[in-house]
Amino acid sequence: MKHALKPSQYAVLVAIMLTASVGDSLLSRGMGQVGQVDMHHLGLLWRALFNPFVDAGIVLLIGFFACYTAALSWADLTFVMPATAFGYVVIALLGRFWLHEQLSPSRWAGIALIVCAVGFVAGGPSRTEHPELDQMDAGVGR
């Protein structure tokens, strides 16, 4: 398994953690302003596109998908997974310290577990080597 990540690759993992959670929060806030969309009010979806929170949320979620795809090109899925889960921690902490919501003990326990999971994986190698794939890459490069 390969281990060392470049600083830019750590930055991509941090971007994965932040973009998904902040993007979801912005979408949620924007859609709260737009109102409830159902089969009789589909026109609201068009109006949602002109809401700045919805637009910012969409941009961040596109950024998340780009970062996630890039990360999977140099790291294992089981290495990247805890980083995506860390988004739940960011949302919970934003709720606690920005919106001053109360977090129940079970939520704090959930945060602690995900932080531990990120620690377990971050200390290990990022990628499983597949010698036959590396040989194919070398063949393509010739």
Binding site: D76, L77, T78, A85, T128
Partner: protein
């Protein structure tokens, strides 16, 4: 009898949504594994060439399709199951399913450390999202 049919419907829809998410994520990861480091591709083909290489990859395309289907299946599942059950259950099952699928289909070396991380994430997400 009615109750067990309802439970079966709820958990059937939760399992279906999770399976679509796992299929989507594993196919996208498989496609990226096939392509290799996108930074290297960008260095040789530029940004547009990289985007075309990613979109043109069959596994990536099928995976993205599964993720789109997953979105609509999620809406259907939420019409059957309560959000407080469906959201954490789908998230946890997806993380566990991803670990098994990564080991079997992507041949990732999922060592003790990663199994432990998967279990912690599955329980942690269930605790936060409920």
């Amino acid at each position: 009898m009615m109750l067990s049919a309802q439970i079966l419907r709820v958990w059937g829809s939760i399992s279906f949504v999770s399976a679509l998410a796992v299929a989507g994520e594993v196919l996208i990861a498989g496609g990226m594994q096939q392509l290799g480091d996108l930074d290297d591709i960008r260095a040789s083909k530029g940004m547009l060439g990289t985007v075309m290489a990613v979109i043109g990859n069959g596994k990536f395309f099928t995976g993205a399709l599964c993720m789109a289907l997953n979105f609509f299946a999620m809406l259907f599942a939420l019409s059957i199951a309560e959000l407080s059950l469906a959201a954490p259950a789908i998230a946890s099952l997806t993380y566990i399913g991803n670990a098994f699928a990564a080991k079997w289909f992507l041949r990732e070396k999922v060592d003790q450390r990663r199994w432990l991380a998967t279990a912690f994430v599955a329980v942690g997400v269930a605790l936060i999202a409920r």
